[in-house]
Subunit: 246 residues, 2 copies
């Protein structure tokens, strides 16, 4: 009995250790209180309660994370677009924190691998991805405060996804922009797509974009289309001055 | 000419000095960059532009302050009501940051005295009070960061106004609750109302509430009714244990 208990507690702490290091990887810092993050991935179907008997699941954290996302994105837009009026800022923020976009963020981080639930994971709708992404932001706020929330949102939302010209609808697709430019400049271009899976069970695609037979940009994403777009965007920034002055 | 210029610049800096000390009084701390606060009270009709030629008025700050209020109130409710689910928290927050409530907050601080505008102040609708309150919160965020926003909102919104039983509709009026209790306990009660004006041009009312001929609570507010309610609430907290155990 004593031995069984010991084995159990060891395996438990190994599991906790794996969760901790995966979290650290996603967050970019060491969590202080891992329980907040465990809560962020606990679905109500698990029927867990905390020491006070209150339900322990991610729903309240979602509310908190949504509020933190709203204010961090608001401050970012305020600083980045000094010419944008209140209406513009409100519209841009809604685009960034749209349900669809939050689902994409959660899906790209493969957060669903952490969900503890009695409902099979494939029974959830699309929104689970965005909901647990919001809950994760709420957990960061409780664990480390506003400044860490800001850093995390910068790293995981703003830098990889917030592209103001695209949000403004000025650029619909960097791929078509780039192809148009190559054709005008009589340059050859080639997208090479390959499987590029990590060890986290999520399917990824890698893309190498060559222009005039020289590799200009690489990218990795959860769909072929997204990876091509990312690589095109990177190439666009490489050529930006040339493109804009033509 | 030199003398005139000097007089002008002196009178200007006296005016700035008065604004600075009035702000310090309202904020509870010394502003670092007073320009943010000046902007928070500049109406678009003044047609001011900043050094980059962008319009200088409070509308963008309103957007920022609204977002900060949303997240500070969210975090407060999250911590204060551990049993409240997502729907409850969302509903409570909307009540606290309702247009009506924000107008009351701005009006009670008499923020309109600072508004710089080409439109006469009495031509503005009610919402100007709430709008400049939000803009002020935005200015605090830019000037001093999130932690100061939190402190200010705690001092000016949460402590004086956020009363969870009342927001939940469990308590409609502390005055009637108190009167009911006095009648049941056969205690005499008396509200004494007097004018209590500050030097900021705003009309205030003071109330002394006596129970059994002993002054139990005092309060001050911008209407007789509000001052009575505030005093009743204070008395209620004094007698709370007695009232609840009856």
């Amino acid at each position: 009995m004593g031995i069984l208990k010991k084995i159990f507690s060891n395996s438990r702490s190994t599991e906790d250790g794996i969760f901790f290091s995966k979290m650290e990887n996603i967050l970019g810092f060491k969590p202080l209180n891992i329980e907040y993050y465990q809560k962020a991935f606990t679905h109500r179907s698990s029927n867990k309660v905390d020491k006070n008997g209150d339900p322990m699941n991610y729903e309240r954290l979602e509310f908190l994370g949504d509020a933190m996302l709203g204010s961090v994105i608001a401050a970012h837009l305020f600083n980045e677009v000094p010419t944008g009026d209140e209406g513009y800022l409100t519209k841009m923020r809604s685009k960034i924190v749209s349900r669809e976009h939050l689902n994409e963020l959660g899906r790209d981080l493969n957060l669903i691998q952490f969900v503890e639930s009695k409902v099979p994971v494939n029974h959830f709708g699309e929104n689970i991805h965005g909901n647990i992404f919001e809950a994760l932001v709420g957990a960061i706020f409780l664990d480390k405060g506003y400044a860490y929330c800001e850093k995390f949102i910068m790293k995981r939302v703003i830098i990889p996804y917030v592209d103001i010209p695209k949000l403004e609808g000025k650029v619909i697709s960097y791929k078509s922009l780039l192809i148009e430019w190559c054709q005008k400049e009589k340059k050859s271009f080639h997208y090479e797509v390959f499987d590029d899976n990590g060890n986290d069970g999520q399917k990824y695609f890698g893309v190498k974009l060559s222009i005039d037979n020289k590799v200009i940009a690489k990218a990795r994403a959860t769909s072929k289309k997204k990876a091509e777009e990312k690589a095109s965007q990177r190439a666009y920034f490489v050529f930006q001055e040339k493109i804009n002055t033509k």
